[in-house]
Symmetry: C2
Subunit: 124 residues, 2 copies
Amino acid sequence: MPTGVRIDVSPEQIEALTYNLEGLIPAIAQDHETRDVLMMAWMNAESLRMTFDQGRMVYWSRSRQELWRKGDTSGDRQFVREAYFDCDADTLLFLVEQEGDGACHTGARSCFFRQFGTDAVETV
Amino acid sequence: MPTGVRIDVSPEQIEALTYNLEGLIPAIAQDHETRDVLMMAWMNAESLRMTFDQGRMVYWSRSRQELWRKGDTSGDRQFVREAYFDCDADTLLFLVEQEGDGACHTGARSCFFRQFGTDAVETV
């Protein structure tokens, strides 16, 4: 059974991150085993706090304008293993254990299932 | 010597992506060998077109408000190997060959070199 990791992060650390004008920060979810990039979605400070507390990925749904605890509806939960932030402190990276079929609402394992180009040409 | 791949993408495909109000779309760069996520930055339609044409990552610098062909100053170029877009067509993923020291202006290989938490606790 999948498990998540609760991560102790101070409110100050969460506040110190750089959010956009809507109070959001992009969060990349990467499969901790296959290392496939599964999806990118957005968090606000509250969903980030919940993510750290619960060891499960909680996003902010921009389309529904509400907290979105991944998998509550679909069953395809994401359990947190490790969490990083970048040099500008404006993007997050989570290594996750993906439960169920996958991260994507289409049923695909990764949301990045469509590839550009079919006639790639080697260049220098 | 690193090489990039030129990818044939029609102007219609580039226009069909979803850009934000500033005309930008997030682009994740992942090392094609180590599969580490190196960085996330932004592209506009023009920089994306250049990226596909030249086989090198070209971003839009939000701070400088100009095209930013990664590595022209630092020497740490990123050569494109594969390119994907997600289910919502509002995020891009590139598998790249990272030249030189790394992707980060700090000298780190990945921009995500800082990890949250030191007292991670297993939970269910």
